[in-house]
Each structure stands twice: as structure tokens, then as C-alpha cells.
Symmetry: C2
Subunit: 200 residues, 2 copies
């Protein structure tokens, strides 16, 4: 009945798999694409492929970067005594936007979640321990989500990493309960960073 | 400060040019793309290019199609005595979804808009007149938007196409004032088609 050309239906199906793009929105984008000038469409497709091909994970901190080690890891103006631990690479961008953190980062790559089969050894915790041995780290800030798994992960890391001369804190108020970092605005994250509390 | 890798920023810029995709939504999609498996990303880029390359305009009615003439024009089960005139190719899909029209289509390619430099001769009105000479058309239904330009275009076409034995109508209530066809739901379009009124 609807009889959209097959290639448009296929494009809609591919677009619907993107986050936040529903069927209606995908249809609108697809119909726009087939009616836009060739150059713009090619530019979009190339931007997609180029981004996917050039972006990799930093071997030191796990951030998204085009060159490893990433710009944050190699930036000597950043405070190497401070490491902010986040769950996912995109969380770094959320914190950078708040403009209140000038230390280094470490991406865990997830959070401890026995129900989903994620154990501590699946996270980049051993890498973090190696960094503690080789870098002049004096404080670790855990910037994890406030859900049960985020709590469990924070407590686990605080326990595992405890050593003399190392302060371990967790970002404080501002994060709405049960949500991740990406939904927080700059001010909320700024408050959360400055209000961090020491874990023992 | 934000220091997203350049290729991600470029991708966000390209995505923001799509309809209904704001900066926040584009960022979310871009960060998803660089962290998704290569095959899915390549599939998306290819779907975009393939759709743009294979979809063309039907030389008869102006619809989006992969083969010209399109499936609607070549479908002998459809009523060739009835032509529904729409502004844009995508409007055909909106009407097809309502499931209440079994005639043929004709896409104008726009609406008369002196302010935007669109004159009657810029639209596919002469093509429509040629179809009237070669096809057994008895009724034309004008399914244009309800804004001032849509009104002007409808009246212009009704005046130009008037000839003995040809009924010219315009779809009726259901279309919210000042909006185009794409925002209407199936039922509204169904009402509008059945409630059409004769123009003289």
C-alpha cells in the first residue's frame, strides 16, 4: 500500500537503528536524502565512514580520539595528579563541557553488572592500577552514574585502589538518580565535580 | 574546550543539516556511530548512497521511484480517470498511507510563490495539461497545502485546466491551516480526500 521504493525503505530501516531516531523521523530524513543534491549526500556518507575509520580508543585512558595517546593524555598543562574515572568514552565530553576539570581521564568501558555478565575483570581497572604505578596520581575522582551498578562499581574500585597517599572521591549531588552522565547539563556536572566527597 | 575529535565534529555538522536533527541529537548519533561495529556503519553509509543513486523522479507523474515510469503510473488496476495533484513527491506517500485513493498522481514540484521567485511556468503544469490530452482523465483532485500559496496555486490550476467534461476538486477539511501534507495523519487525509469539494 505505502509502496515506498525499496532503497528508501532500506534506508529508513538503517536510520531507525540510530539512537533517538524513530520511524517517523527516519522516514523524514530518508525522503530528504533522496531529494537532496548528490554532493551533500556523498558528503554525509563520507563523514560517517571517515569518523568511524579515524576514531579509535586511546590506549592510555580509553577516550575517543584520532591519535593515540589522545590530546588529553599528552597535554602537559593538565594536572597529571588527578584522574577522573568515567564509564564510557562519551562521558569525557560531558565533563569537558562543564569546563571545571583540568586533570586526566580513565574510561572503564562499562560498570560492574552481574546480571549482564559484566565482572570487574571486564572493565579497565587493571589498566588504571598500572597507571597508578607509573603516573604521579594523588587523587581519583569517580564520575560514574548514580544507579545501583554505578554505586557497586564505585565501591569496588574504591576498595581495590586504596593505597597510602591516594585520595579517592566520588562526584556528588547534581546527577539525577538512576541516570547516566549524558543527560546532565554543564552546571549540574560542574556542581557535581566541585562537591565530590572522599570515600574511605 | 570540548575537544571532540575533528572527524566527529564534521559528522555532527553534516547530521545537523538533516531535517528534525538538532545539535544535541546529531551529537548523540555521531558518538553512537563512532562506537558501533564497522559493518553497521558501512551498511548505513551504503544505504544512504544507494537510495540517493537509485531513486529518481518518474517522468510521467514526478513521483520518487527506482524505475520510470513508476509503479503507480504503470499499475493498470488504478483508476486512470482520476489524477491527484500534489506539491512534492513525498506527499504521494502521505496519501497512499491513508489507503483511500486509487487513482494516479501528478507532482507539481512546488507551489506558486512570487516572493520566492516561483512562477506557474516553474511548476509541472504544462506536463499535466499534456496528460489531460493523452490520458482518459475525468477528474482532478488538488491535494495542496492550505496556506496562501497553496490556495493561489489551486485557484490558478483550476482556472488554467478548466475544460468540458473535466471535474476539478480540492481536498477538504482535515488539513490544519498553514501546514503541508506531511504533518497530517492517515485519518485526516482520508477525511480530506472523501470530503473534497468541486471548484468552478
Amino acid at each position: 500500500m505505502t509502496h515506498l521504493p525499496d532503497s528508501i525503505s532500506a534506508l529508513i530501516a538503517a536510520l531507525t537503528r540510530l539512537p533517538g531516531i524513530g520511524p517517523r523521523s527516519a522516514e523524514r530524513v530518508a525522503l530528504h536524502i533522496v531529494q537532496t543534491d548528490n554532493a551533500s549526500v556523498r558528503h554525509l556518507a563520507e563523514a560517517i565512514l571517515h569518523a568511524r575509520q579515524t576514531v579509535q580508543l586511546c590506549t592510555v585512558c580509553g577516550a575517543l580520539t584520532e591519535a593515540s595517546p589522545c590530546r588529553t593524555c599528552t597535554d602537559t598543562r593538565r594536572d597529571a595528579s588527578l584522574i577522573c574515572v568515567v564509564e564510557r568514552p562519551v562521558d569525557i565530553f560531558s565533563i569537558e563541557k562543564s569546563g571545571t576539570f583540568r586533570g586526566k581521564y580513565h574510561v572503564l568501558g562499562g560498570k560492574i553488572s552481574p546480571l549482564n555478565g559484566v565482572q570487574p575483570e571486564d572493565l579497565r581497572i587493571a589498566d588504571l592500577e598500572r597507571r597508578l604505578a607509573s603516573e604521579p596520581v594523588r587523587e581519583i575522582i569517580l564520575a560514574l552514574g548514580t544507579d545501583v551498578e554505578g554505586d557497586a562499581t564505585a565501591f569496588y574500585i574504591a576498595k581495590v585502589l586504596t593505597r597510602p597517599g591516594l585520595s579517592i572521591s566520588r562526584i556528588a549531588h547534581g546527577l539525577p538518580a538512576g541516570s547516566g552522565l549524558e543527560a546532565a547539563d554543564e552546571l549540574t556536572l560542574s556542581h557535581a565535580l566541585s562537591g565530590r566527597r572522599e570515600m574511605k
